[in-house]
């Protein structure tokens, strides 16, 4: 399946803006989609969410979720590339 280039370029941008505009659960969905374009993007966006909001106490969930989404999206990309999905 060929993904149009504007979708590939637009998804990370929307994921970035969603960190400012949308509830974090929606941002996670966009981070996962961005991770399908390039897995490290999900991790980067998660770290950026912590840079924006981390209060300095507790677990930095943004980075943890970003890492999990990066791994999940890399796995999905692997399945798609090998045409299992």
């Amino acid at each position: 399946m060929k993904v149009p280039s504007y979708v590939r370029a637009g998804t990370p941008l929307v994921a970035f803006l969603s960190l400012f505009w949308f509830p974090w659960a929606v941002s996670c969905a966009f981070m996962f989609l961005a991770g399908l374009v390039f897995p490290a993007l999900a991790l980067a966006l998660g770290v950026f969410a912590d840079i924006l909001y981390y209060p300095g106490v507790g677990i930095p969930w943004g980075s943890v979720i970003g890492l999990a989404l990066a791994l999940a999206s890399a796995f999905v990309r692997h399945l798609v590339k090998t045409r299992i999905m």
Partner: protein, 262 residues
């Protein structure tokens, strides 16, 4: 036909292709730069992010008004209800004004303490994944690290955890794991509230303390400011204590402004 020998490196079996490696490198640099700017130059970071948060607030306000599809009949009934409510409040206000005048005559007037700093909330949960509020007032306006923040009605909501010249970050009492001393009920049962995220708290009290659903919860201080109410009690027959679920009076999801003490 044999293909000509190519000197170009082949990345087919490498872990990262050339383009992927470059993109990952750029991403890493952007993230490190963001972190450096955020912590070393917090004002520059606040200036850069402010338009994005403002755009979000603008969009949500306009999308909300566009999505409102109330019928004419319900709007009219709301209007009638509000008109009668307004009349009742006007009468009550007149009575209270007269009472204030009487009390001032009896007791004399005095200078009230200076109010705190009113700050507009730029970002709040659930956009922020933590119980944190980002406000538009910083040390330039007199906000100090550790200052108490209050919601509408004077309900304590948290303390200033980070501050720059033009921005401050309020860590809410309901942040996961943060503990606050409080009292529950009319008997002022001492409890330690533990932040449960999303504005909520939990607490443990002995069974014989007699906590009830609906009991008010107050911050343990000289003026016992109310912070929330007990909405559920979880009891385990094998445990000598019960768990309280406390709902705050101030919903952090809908806070648009806060007052920060000077």
């Amino acid at each position: 036909m044999n293909r000509p020998f190519s000197r170009r490196p082949r990345y087919r079996n490498s872990l990262l292709s050339g383009g992927t490696g470059i993109a990952a490198g750029i991403l890493a640099i952007v993230i490190v730069l963001s972190a450096v700017v955020r912590f070393a130059l917090p004002d520059a970071f606040a200036t850069a992010t402010k338009p994005l948060w403002n755009a979000g607030a603008f969009l949500s306000a306009h999308v909300r008004s566009a999505a409102s599809k109330e019928s004419k009949a319900s709007l009219l009934s709301d209007r009638d209800r509000l008109v009668s409510q307004n009349a009742a409040l006007t009468a009550q206000n007149a009575a209270l004004s007269a009472q204030v005048t009487d009390l001032t005559t009896l007791l004399g007037s005095r200078t009230e303490p200076e109010k705190g700093i009113v700050a507009n909330v730029r970002a709040r949960p659930p956009v922020a994944p933590y119980d944190v509020l980002i406000t538009d007032q910083g040390s330039a306006a007199g906000v100090a690290l550790g200052a108490e923040a209050y919601g509408p009605g004077g309900t304590p909501i948290g303390t200033v955890g980070q501050v720059s010249a033009s921005e401050s970050r309020i860590t809410l009492y309901s942040t996961h794991g943060i503990q606050t001393s409080a009292w529950a009920g009319a008997e002022h049962i001492p409890v330690t509230l533990t932040g449960a995220g999303a504005g909520a708290f939990t607490a443990q009290v002995p069974k014989e303390a007699g906590a009830k659903v609906g009991d008010g919860v107050y911050v343990a201080s000289a003026d016992a400011v109310p912070i929330g109410t007990v909405v559920r009690i979880e009891s385990d027959p094998s445990s000598p204590s019960v768990g309280l679920d406390v709902r705050p009076y101030t919903n952090p999801f809908s806070l648009t402004w806060v007052t920060i003490e000077r």
